[in-house]
C-alpha cells in the first residue's frame, strides 16, 4: 500500500474520532452542531479540489487528446459529485437542527443545488454519447462550462448576497476568528483526509476503466 493511502486512513480515523470527542467552543445557535464543520465544510473543500483537478484535465484533454486526461477529468467529477451529495446531506441534517428546516431558501444552498444539477447534466451528456472520443471532447467542453457555473454559484454569488450560513451576515462562524486552534487541529487534517480518500476512489475507478478497455481490446 502506498504511503498516502495509509495517511488517508489515519487522517480519516483521526478526524472522525477527534471530530466527535475533542472539545469544541460553545457558540450561540450552533452549540454541539459545530462539529459538522469537520465533515460538511471539509467535504466541500475536498469537492472543490477534485473539481479543480477535473477542469485542469479537461483543458489538457482538449489540447492533447490523450485518453488519460479524459479519464482523470471524468472520474474526479464523479467522486466530486458524490462528495457534493454527501455535503448537501450533512448540511441538510445540520440545517434541521439549527435553522429548523431541511431546506431553507439560502443563497449557498440553492447555489449548491444548481451546481450539482449542472454536473449531473454533465453525467447525462456523457451517458448519451457512444463514441468514446466524442464523449470525451463534449464532456470536456461542457465541464469547462460547469466549472464556471460552480465558481459563479459557490464563490461569487454568496459574496454579493447575504447568506444564513455561519460566518455570513453576522452569524456565529466556523470561519477565521470563531474557530479556535483545537478546531483547526481537526479541520485541516480532515480536509486532507477527505481529499486523499477521494483521490483513492478516483484512481481505483480509473484502474477499473483501464481494465475494461483492455478486455475490450482483447476481444
Amino acid at each position: 500500500m502506498k504511503w498516502w493511502k495509509v495517511l488517508a486512513i489515519v487522517l480519516m480515523l483521526y478526524s472522525i474520532i477527534g471530530g466527535f470527542l475533542i472539545d469544541v467552543p460553545r457558540l450561540p445557535i450552533l452549540h454541539e452542531t459545530i462539529r459538522n464543520t469537520y465533515f460538511h465544510v471539509t467535504l466541500w473543500f475536498a469537492m472543490m479540489i477534485l473539481m479543480t483537478i477535473s477542469i485542469v484535465n479537461s483543458i489538457r484533454y482538449l489540447s492533447s487528446g490523450d485518453k488519460k486526461h479524459d479519464y482523470l477529468a471524468n472520474e474526479t467529477v464523479n467522486i466530486g459529485l458524490f462528495f457534493g451529495v454527501l455535503g448537501l446531506t450533512t448540511g441538510m441534517i445540520w440545517a434541521q437542527f439549527t435553522w429548523g428546516a431541511f431546506w431553507v431558501n439560502d443563497v449557498k444552498t440553492n447555489g449548491t443545488a444548481i451546481t450539482l444539477l449542472v454536473y449531473f447534466a454533465y453525467a447525462v451528456l456523457r451517458g448519451s454519447v457512444d463514441d468514446p472520443q466524442k464523449k470525451a471532447r463534449l464532456g470536456a467542453v461542457y465541464s469547462i462550462f460547469a466549472y464556471v457555473m460552480l465558481i459563479l454559484f459557490l464563490w461569487i454569488l454568496p459574496r454579493i448576497t447575504d447568506s444564513l450560513h455561519p460566518g455570513n451576515g453576522g452569524n456565529p462562524a466556523f470561519g477565521s476568528y470563531d474557530m479556535d486552534n483545537t478546531m483547526r487541529m481537526v479541520f485541516y487534517p480532515a480536509i486532507i483526509g477527505f481529499f486523499l480518500l477521494g483521490w483513492w476512489l478516483v484512481t481505483l475507478r480509473i484502474r477499473l476503466k483501464n481494465i475494461q478497455d483492455k478486455l475490450v481490446e482483447d476481444v
Binding site: L117, A121, L125, S128, L138, V141, Y142, M149
Partner: protein, 209 residues
C-alpha cells in the same frame, strides 16, 4: 445575414412561434384571474420566455443537415460561424421576449415604472439566453441530435440569467432604484461576456464532425 434569410424562408415555423407565444401567455392570463404583483408578473414573463426560447432557438443546430454543415465548414471560420449563429438567435429571442412581454403587459394592464431600464433588461437577458442556448444546442447536436438533451443541459446553465433577469424586471415594474438596477445590469453584462467568451473559445472543438 444568411441565417435571417434562411429562417424567413420557413415562415410557417415563425408563425407557429407567434401562436405558441400567444397561447402560453393566454393560458397564464386565464388561470390567474387578477393582476399579479410585480414579482409574480416578472416570473411568469421570464419563465414563458425561457420555455419558448428553448423550443425555438434550441433547434438552431439540430435542423441543420449534415451536408450543409460540411459546406459551412469549408466556407467559414468556426468562430465567425458561432458568432453569426448567436447573433441570429439573439434576434429571435429578442423578438420572442418582446412579444411575450407585450402580450403580458397588454392583458394584465400593468404599468412599467422604468421602461428604458426594462428594455435594457430585456436586451441583456435575451442576448444571454440566446448565447447559452445556441452553444448548448451545438453540444447537443454533436452528442446525439436529441432535443431533450438541449433542455437538460441548458436549464441549470440558464438559471443565473433567469434569476437576475426576474429580479431586474421586477425592479423596473415597481419600486425602481437606479443603484440596484445598475448592479443587476452589471451582473447581466458580466454573465453575457462570460458565456459569449466561452462559446467563442470552445466552439472550434465541437466543430469537426
Amino acid at each position: 445575414m444568411h441565417e435571417l434569410k434562411l429562417e424567413y424562408r420557413n415562415k410557417s415555423a415563425l408563425g407557429g412561434l407567434f401562436i405558441y407565444a400567444f397561447s402560453t401567455v393566454f393560458v397564464t392570463y386565464l388561470s390567474v384571474s387578477r393582476s399579479p404583483p410585480s414579482d409574480l408578473l416578472s416570473t411568469f414573463i421570464w419563465i414563458a420566455v425561457l420555455f419558448i426560447s428553448i423550443n425555438a432557438a434550441g433547434k438552431g443546430f439540430l435542423q441543420e443537415q449534415k451536408e450543409r454543415m460540411l459546406y459551412y465548414y469549408s466556407l467559414v471560420k468556426p468562430t465567425s460561424f458561432i458568432l453569426g449563429k448567436i447573433f441570429y438567435t439573439s434576434l429571435l429571442v429578442g423578438v420572442i421576449a418582446m412579444l411575450v412581454n407585450g402580450i403580458f403587459i397588454l392583458l394584465f394592464d400593468s404599468n412599467i415604472e422604468a421602461p428604458i431600464w426594462y428594455a435594457v433588461a430585456l436586451l441583456l437577458g435575451g442576448a444571454g439566453f440566446a448565447a447559452t442556448i445556441t452553444f448548448i444546442s451545438a453540444i447537443a447536436m454533436s452528442a446525439s441530435g436529441n432535443f431533450t438533451l438541449v433542455s437538460v443541459l441548458s436549464f441549470p446553465v440558464l438559471l443565473p440569467f433567469l434569476v437576475t433577469q426576474v429580479k431586474f424586471s421586477k425592479l423596473c415594474i415597481a419600486g425602481f432604484d437606479s443603484v440596484l438596477a445598475l448592479k443587476y445590469a452589471g451582473i447581466l453584462i458580466l454573465l453575457n461576456l462570460l458565456v459569449w467568451a466561452l462559446a467563442y473559445l470552445l466552439f472550434p472543438y465541437l466543430w469537426r464532425d
